[in-house]
Symmetry: D2
């Protein structure tokens, strides 16, 4: 069983057609799992629905507490890409003995050209087989939490070092 | 580096708007990798473009030979779902020491509601981290080649074998 | 008010993921009208759900009878493209004083690359403003029922007949 | 022949995946006409690429001048919905003897759930058959320029004026 925690980010943004802006509604996770014909046993819980640029230490403690309380040892967290690495560090400092994979998207799932479905398939798969630790799964790759950074110019996650 | 071999299947079917039928054209793999913003180093090669119900032992030997000749030890094979298990067995009997992951789709990628992108993200991720062996990656899960069957009534891959 | 009669055709084909074939289910018309944010007052009624190559004279008489019985003078009929012209002729011979527009699609609506939504917007608009008569609306154009043919090689409807 | 002038609006917004914002790039018009398998003879020209809330009188004079100079008597203008009615009034005051249809979208075409393709099919069709005048085509309907307003709460265009 895998515990999926939703925190918002580009992944889950939708278009508000009255205001003409990007906004948050309900998570698309259940619809995406259905589309992927996923048979992975999961529980999906929305912790918050925010842009990761607005994520504070308090928000991060909510995520750490949820991952800590979760009875399963395998966890996926959906998250905005801008501060995904910071949250990964908070999780690594706060939790031991669990496989936690953070993922997100560069383009909202509700957009035709989103990488969200690809990333979700990737993150679930990594969560099923990687040993305990905190990882980021983006661009079809996985990185240990302290060996990665987001390249803000290309939008790509890349190896970064100690 | 991961070697991707394309063999056809529902995954790659397209709609022929003159004849009104499902058919094969070029593989959608490169487009799908672009959509997934994949940064996994891959080589993509189309071995055949056929419905897996039409796959013969000769076709399977072409796939085994290609996987055998491939210089990389990590391989993804896209394949029709109906006889994916048979091809997995042929690969397991013919090849040692490589991680080979077969995947496909229940709905063509070109259709709006396809599981293809999810499955591709999943298969690439399993191929990156699983130990040598032959696996099937479908429905967000992975199975050893001799521990799986396709349930023809539900379309779902499930555990089987002793 | 516009009466919409559904008869099937490529427009409404869906993918049967268990059998791997194109088939018919419920019509996509209500979903398409919602997507188009249509505020046109319509009633939608499914007369049949068939490939237009299988359409017989009896089927055509059902369509003529429905259009004749319909209390509105403006009608849209969705129809397979292969014999759309024959049904248009049957309607022209059987009905006077109503504006009837036939439309369809070259690619199923459920496919990502369908012309269905464009054609529906076009057919409804022509039905609202054209004088009584029987027309075919395809490729953004409209044709009188006796001045059109489908080019089977290109899939395009073009002027024909003097 | 129909002259299509592009001015921007929600219709043509795209998602900037580096900045995470909605923005303008190239117009999607040619791709949309291809998707609709349109065979209407058109010329497409981008006059500006702006949010209609930012449209000034000077911008409107550019549109009036382009429609006036255009050798064809049938014209479609894509436009943001917020001030579409104001631009329609400017066109009605500046031009006689041409059929001009303004249209737009509530959701960007690049989003999966856009009304753009439906609206484009509708606007082209109205432009082909309506008598000279300035019209707005939205929600599958058409309105004379001085008989319409956008309802800001529902996003719907509705009859207005005496």
């Amino acid at each position: 069983m895998i515990c999926i925690f939703v925190t918002g980010g580009t992944f889950d943004k939708t278009y508000d057609e009255i205001r003409g802006t990007l906004t948050f509604g309900e998570t698309h996770l259940p619809e995406m799992l259905r589309l992927g014909r996923s048979r992975v046993e999961v529980s999906v819980r929305t912790l918050m629905m925010i842009d990761s640029l607005n994520m504070t230490d308090e928000h991060r403690q909510v995520i750490v507490a949820a991952c800590s309380a979760c009875g399963d040892s395998r966890i996926v967290v959906t998250h905005g890409t801008d501060t995904m690495v910071e949250t990964a560090a908070a999780l690594a400092n706060g939790i031991n003995g669990k496989t936690i994979v953070l993922t997100g998207a560069l383009v909202p799932y509700a957009f035709g050209s989103s990488d969200g479905l690809f990333n979700l398939g990737s993150a679930l798969s990594f969560a099923e087989v990687l040993p305990p630790g905190v990882y980021i799964a983006m661009n079809g790759q996985h990185f240990k939490w302290d060996k990665v950074r987001k390249n803000r110019e290309t939008g790509v996650f890349e190896s970064a070092g100690e």
